[in-house]
Symmetry: C2
Subunit: 141 residues, 2 copies
């Protein structure tokens, strides 16, 4: 199945009714590759949709993540992050500045090639931690 890049089509593709608020959230995630928090999304959208409630953003993100329309990322202990790119890739977070980066995965096979046994596995996440280029350079060592 070909994943849609248009917000309305993406929602429809996953059987979700495209309301104004849902389209706005979906659109944000398709345009911004910044792995935003709920607050980041809310604050940005609130500027153009003054009636928007933060609860709606929470509800929408939870719904979309449950349906597999978006990815929920728990690499950061503080906040859940979201990603509109649901193609298989890993994430990196800098332990110093906190920035989150996408990391392509060469060998996708190994992600599902495991000792799952009787478990039914539906999704996988690969997280890396360390130091980004800038922070690496500033390390005292």
């Amino acid at each position: 199945m070909n994943i849609q890049k248009n917000p309305i089509e993406r929602l429809t593709q996953f059987g979700i009714k495209p309301s104004l608020q849902r389209i706005a959230v979906m659109n944000y995630l398709l345009k911004n590759y910044n792995h935003p928090t709920v607050d980041m999304i809310f604050n940005k959208l609130y500027a153009s949709i003054p009636t928007l409630s933060k609860t709606t953003v929470y509800n929408t993100l939870k719904l979309l993540a449950q349906q597999g329309v978006i990815m929920e990322i728990t690499i950061d202990e503080k906040n859940v992050r979201y990603d509109g790119d649901i193609s298989q890739h890993a994430h990196f977070q800098c332990k110093n500045c906190g920035c989150i980066r996408d990391i392509p995965i060469k060998n996708i096979k190994t992600i599902s090639d495991n000792e799952a046994g009787e478990l039914l596995i539906t999704e996988s996440r690969l997280y890396y931690k360390g130091y980004c280029e800038k922070c690496k350079a500033n390390l005292v060592k």
Copy 2:
């Protein structure tokens, strides 16, 4: 380097002074493979150490995780989990009952074999979600 199984030795091995509280936390994690939350650890230890403060448990776990003595697991959005087993392995969480399981990784190589580029990677986590044996059987489908 051979990772110590004894709580005091493990702490010492990583350059951490083995106080009563730290030993207790470390000992709990070396004896229990339940990927506990802070509350689970605190409640158990509080029974035998009535002066124990939850802040101390938070501080200790943060310290140990930072020093690499234990693993911090963020597979669950609600609570951070901890693991005294720092050997390379993946984690699974059931989306229905919430149970967390260890999953051995056959091909450890692929975990660090990625497109890191200029990033300095110090740790990796592989998380799986899905349904455990019991919950899988009860799925309506």
